[in-house]
């Protein structure tokens, strides 16, 4: 029977798993595979696993519970070992690595921040600050058939969007970096100029949140800051 793995903890983690369910349509009970120094929270792997909301929630809920009671290394969704014995063997083989990671993450939480900027406000800024963009815009407005100028305008604007988004992302990241112990930049997305996870000590969580609030206030209504956390430290294992 294949074994689905949720997390790895130290052997002395309380591992309170009551009320939690595993992944799959008919989830098997959660159980613990132990080595001398570590424990893995596992369940039987369902025959067919898809990234359904139900299963993602099950995975995430196990990790969130573990996170409240001690350090835990969150596994990536969908990781399956051949059986419990081989999970135990993996715990033993990598025990030094796991011990070190658990120590690094003890008492620390992940916060994910995404920042988006309203496109119209960005376009308005570009048109206000770039004479060339404004000239091309005025020209194409009065000459709707000026295909070449339209392309030139779009090219200029798209270059400016990228440069300005990157600059704003770097600026915000630099401003917030001192409030966290570590950060992991996942890179901009189509919708977000910044998508970065922060590792924050539990005791500093309120101060970190305050720093993000202040940044959001400073950047104003054209920017949307979305802060998620505390999360299991997915980005720092």
């Amino acid at each position: 029977m294949a074994t689905y793995i949720y997390a790895i903890t130290a052997a002395d983690h309380p591992l309170r798993l009551d009320g939690l369910v595993g992944v799959g349509e008919n989830p098997s009970e959660l159980r613990v595979v132990r080595s001398e120094r570590h424990a893995a929270v596992v369940s039987d792997a369902p025959a067919e696993l898809r990234a359904k909301r139900r299963d993602l929630v099950a995975h995430q809920s196990v990790l969130e519970r573990l996170m409240t009671e001690g350090a835990a290394l969150p596994m990536r969704f969908g990781l399956v070992g051949p059986d419990d014995d081989q999970v135990r063997a993996a715990l033993e083989q990598e025990q030094d690595t796991y011990a070190q990671r658990l120590e690094e993450l003890d008492g620390r939480l992940e916060y994910n921040l995404k920042v988006a900027r309203d496109e119209d406000s960005l376009l308005r800024e570009i048109l206000t600050e770039s004479d060339e963009a404004r000239r091309l815009r005025d020209h194409t407005r009065s000459n709707p058939d000026a295909h070449g100028e339209k392309v030139a305008l779009g090219e200029l604007v798209s270059r400016e969007i990228e440069a300005r988004s990157d600059a704003a992302g770097e600026r915000i990241a630099a401003e917030l970096a001192p409030a966290a112990e570590r950060s992991s930049d996942a890179g901009p997305t189509k919708a977000h100029l910044l998508n970065v996870s922060y590792l924050v000590a539990r005791d500093d969580a309120a101060a970190f949140s305050q720093a993000v609030h202040e940044a959001a206030e400073k950047y104003g209504d054209d920017y949307t800051f979305t802060l998620n956390g505390p999360l299991p430290p997915y980005s720092f294992v």
Partner: protein
Amino acid sequence: MSLVQQSSAPNSTGGSGNLYDVLELILDKGLVIDAFVRVSLVGIEILKIDVRVVVASVDTYLRFAEACNRLDLESGRKAPTQLTDIVGDTVESGAKGKSKGALTGAVEAFTESFQGGRDDSEDKDKEKEEEKRPARKSSSSRRTSQRREE
């Protein structure tokens, strides 16, 4: 300013309320054990957050050009009152929609508890409904209080 803060702490939303925002962490980050396999996840690509790809295509350029041409640089300054009015209306109708929704929910729960007898299962349903509603209320007041802090 604009800040959306979502706590995924256990005992609040159970992590499901903001799942979309943390999807790429659950699917792409986290620890792997090299010797083990990751089950093939059918259809996972569409769930993943789009990594920004700079498409240097004429279509993209034309879209930006159109967006610029539509944009009125003066609109914000020339007619601030009008803009405020529109925003005001939106907020108001949004609030109306919201309170109507809550009201409908309450009426349904009320009806449910009166319809169909007094047996145990009905009472349980009623209890569930009552459990749900305060939970929802507390989560929205939590958000509001966060906004107030800002």
